[in-house]
């Protein structure tokens, strides 16, 4: 959190003559900015104070107070704490100015806020729904929105005990009163409009990059059912010959409104749900979430737990990157044989995960104040063998076969370039950002857990192309192995959980934005608690979702065949993108 004593007397804020106030609710932080001053204030923060990285935009529905609050988290790319801004707007016609023209990285995030919370962003060039479809009625994160099968406001549901009566959800009539639709809705007259809006937005944006106008532009769809899209994901490309002149991602096919579910859940019930975000890296997701809640609770896990967490998080990074290398080859056309070799390493690490947590992928391993169970000396020994022998050996194999391979270099070098300025502007994070020459790693920039104790380097490269993203990931695996070696040597004996694990935790009122460097980038959890057993607001800043903002930029001018590789190089997981 950003307890900035210096900023309180910052002349920049004094300039606004008391119009910009600190958020002085207990447990809250940052500044409340009037709607009309937002643009000017953000501009000055960016230009005069160096807050050049827009990490997250989200919104909270304070229903009882009658307003929505849009929350911005800004950072300096040079490192340090956040600047949190809040803008309030009435619930009747919610509208705030768009930051799109200051930070293009606001694009998808503002669309998400519009989609789920219904806040209009004035000046956003393409404010369409992003996760839901255009015909969807209502904005589900508003507190008074109820879904079909709506049972009760919050869990635990009263009907489960002591008078439980099980029934299949399908047996309930989905068209009963709980389905909302507009009063004047007539199904016979309704026409689907999202596709035409998507196509027209593409035509406007797609400026011709070829001089001549001889060849026609056509729009093609890649996906949603396509082996190269790593899930159900669609890219709508405007092409001129073989070249991309415009591209819009369309997704949400796997949307389940994780955040609404999370706000109904009690705090602890959210932990297994985070496993399902980025299902390759469930340990990291657990870590990000429990850390955010621990921030609110003021809980400090014991030493041993911190070490176990770091070990698990770094093993996850190894899994993710090795897996990614395999799938990069898949995208390059070496269908599945190389990725199956990469899966071997993953299998061995997943064995470790299964042994400690009970499940290979849906680990559900971390708890508030520690982890669910200790790791045994045998498991530690297994990890030791992996990091001292197996992983370095295999990584060397990968490097020998791939790093200088002609095919890889020919296909990846100079493809999908995102320059340094663009990467920052598009709020890219993780390996995508670092491959563009920005050595920004939250483990270093704002260390969490015990990362400040380990000796490791932040891997980065300077060209910002697909090949550099590959190099950064390979390097990162090496650094992870370095951290793992240190962690395994230093891990102390002791308790693995602070206190006793409880099924009802008391979380004091307040907000917290906990972020970690997940393998895919900056994974943030923004949580608002009102002291009740359920979070009032639960927002996930999903790295692979926000990294997609720069996809069009990377693809412009490239050939259709390379789009597949470029998408692969961002490393998306649809469980996290669609949430």
């Amino acid at each position: 959190m950003s307890e900035q004593t210096t900023a309180a007397t910052d002349p920049l804020i004094a300039d606004y003559e008391g119009k910009i106030q600190r958020d002085n609710r207990t447990g809250f932080d940052g500044y409340v900015v009037p709607v009309e001053l937002l643009i000017s204030f953000v501009n000055r923060l960016k230009n005069e104070r160096g807050y050049d990285y827009l990490s997250s935009i989200t919104s909270v529905d304070y229903e009882q107070d009658g307003y929505f609050e849009v929350v911005y988290h800004l950072y300096r790319i040079l490192g340090g704490e956040s600047m949190t801004l809040k803008v309030r707007t009435g619930r009747e016609t919610p509208q705030v100015p768009s930051l799109y023209h200051i930070f293009p990285g606001a694009d998808l995030q503002e669309r998400e806020v519009w989609d789920l919370m219904g806040i209009k962003f004035e000046g956003h060039p393409d404010l369409r729904r992003v996760l839901l479809w255009e015909g969807f009625y209502g904005h589900p994160l508003q507190k008074d929105w109820k879904e079909p099968y709506f049972e009760e406001e919050i869990k635990p549901f009263k009907s489960r005990w002591p008078e439980g009566e099980p029934s299949y959800a399908e047996d309930k009539n989905p068209f009963a009163d709980n389905v909302q639709y507009p009063a004047d809705f007539d199904p016979t007259k309704w026409r689907e409009s999202s596709e035409s809006r998507l196509y027209s937005s593409l035509q406007q944006a797609g400026a011709s990059i070829l001089e001549s106008d001889e060849s026609d532009k056509i729009i093609i769809n890649l996906g949603p059912q396509h082996p190269s899209t790593h899930g159900v994901f669609r890219m709508v490309a405007n092409i001129e010959g073989e070249r991309i002149v415009g591209l819009k991602p369309a997704f949400g096919y796997l949307h389940r409104n994780h955040e609404k579910i999370g706000e109904r859940n009690t705090f602890i019930q959210n932990i297994p749900f985070t496993d399902r975000l980025d299902y390759i890296c469930s340990m990291s997701n657990n870590l990000g979430y429990v850390q955010a809640v621990e921030m609110l609770m003021g809980l400090q896990p014991p030493e041993r737990a911190e070490y176990i967490r770091v070990i698990m998080a770094e093993l996850t990074r190894v899994i993710n990157h090795v897996f990614w290398i395999g799938f990069l080859l898949n995208d390059l056309g070496a269908f599945f044989t190389p990725s199956l070799y990469a899966l071997e390493e993953r299998e061995l690490i997943l064995d470790v995960f299964e042994e400690v947590s009970g499940s290979r992928m849906m680990c559900n391993y971390m708890r508030f104040g520690g982890v669910v169970r200790d790791i045994s000396p045998e498991v530690l020994e297994k990890i030791r063998i992996l990091v001292n022998d197996r992983l370095p050996r295999k990584l060397e194999d990968f490097e020998r076969y791939l790093t200088n391979s002609e095919i890889i270099r020919a296909r990846c070098e100079g493809i999908g370039i995102l320059t340094q300025e663009e990467a920052i502007a598009y709020s890219a994070s993780g390996p995508v950002l670092r491959a563009s020459g920005v050595p920004y790693d939250i483990r270093r920039a704002e260390p969490y857990s015990i990362y400040d104790r380990f000796d490791f380097n932040v891997a980065y490269a300077t060209h910002g192309d697909v090949y550099d993203r590959y190099l950064v990931r390979v390097q990162e695996v090496k650094e992870s192995i370095k951290i793992l070696k240190q962690a395994i040597n230093d891990i102390p004996e002791g308790p693995y959980l602070a206190g006793k694990s409880q099924y009802q935790v008391r979380v004091p009122a307040g907000e917290a934005y906990g972020r970690i460097e997940s393998p895919k980038g900056e994974l943030g959890f923004y949580i608002v608690s009102n002291g009740k057993p359920n979070p009032w607001r639960y927002h996930v800043r999903a790295p692979s979702f926000i990294n997609l903002t720069g996809l069009e930029k990377m693809c412009l001018g490239e050939k259709v065949a390379d789009v597949v590789v470029i998408l692969g190089s961002i490393d998306i997981v649809l469980g996290e993108v669609d949430r």
Binding site: R160, G164, Y341, E354, G358, R390, S501
Partner: protein
């Protein structure tokens, strides 16, 4: 670009292919469908084929492996089945997708609730295998099962009822020996302590 990389790539696969046969020879035919063979293929020093040929071969699962929950019962001295569950409702409250339904038993005469479940149902279509129910049950009455081959032809019966959920303590011990021994020990210790306390107060 002279195609050398393609040959090199194929070489990797070819090496893998031969490794597999060399390993097979080294194992003298014991590499497949034997316990050691399976362990040998999930080991950090494995060479060649890595895969387990399910369903002929099955990976042994770890003690902590979890799939669906089940209820544990003890056998009393009279040979009666004693359900451990007291219908306290903690598991149904903590369950994230809310797939546990419990009805408390009532005394047929007085109508007062008894601490035993009348209905205990888990919708296994909804269960997300998180293990919270087992983790937070204060009576060690619900535990996670190792059985994972539960495909069925129809959805009917996917709401598991009490009878289907009940499994003996011995079964529990057979799949989770360390956990069950530890719990038994803790129980005995607690009882001994209670005894001591009651003796000292007398």
């Amino acid at each position: 670009m002279n195609g050398w990389e393609i040959i090199r790539g194929l070489g990797v696969t070819l090496g893998h292919f031969f490794d597999t046969y060399l390993e097979d020879i080294r194992w003298k035919g014991k590499r497949y469908r034997t316990k050691e063979g399976i362990e040998g293929r999930r080991n950090a020093s494995v060479r060649g084929a890595f895969t387990i040929q399910y369903p002929e071969e099955k990976l042994p699962v770890w003690e902590e492996f979890r799939y669906l929950p089940f209820l544990v019962y003890d056998i009393s001295a009279e040979g009666e089945r004693e359900i451990r569950c007291t219908a306290c409702g903690i598991c149904s409250k903590v369950c994230p997708p809310q797939c546990i339904w419990i009805t408390r038993k009532k005394d047929p005469e007085t109508g007062r609730p008894i601490t035993k479940p009348e209905v205990f149902a888990i919708d296994v279509d909804i269960c997300m295998n998180c293990g919270f129910c087992a983790e937070f049950c204060p009576f060690d009455a619900i535990k996670m099962d190792h059985e994972y081959e539960i495909a069925s032809r129809s959805r009917d019966g996917n709401i598991y009822q009490l009878e289907k959920l009940l499994k003996s303590k011995d079964y529990y011990h057979s799949i989770r020996p360390n956990n069950s021994s530890r719990e038994e020990k803790e129980k005995l210790e607690k009882e001994a302590e209670k005894l001591k306390k009651s003796e000292s107060t007398v």
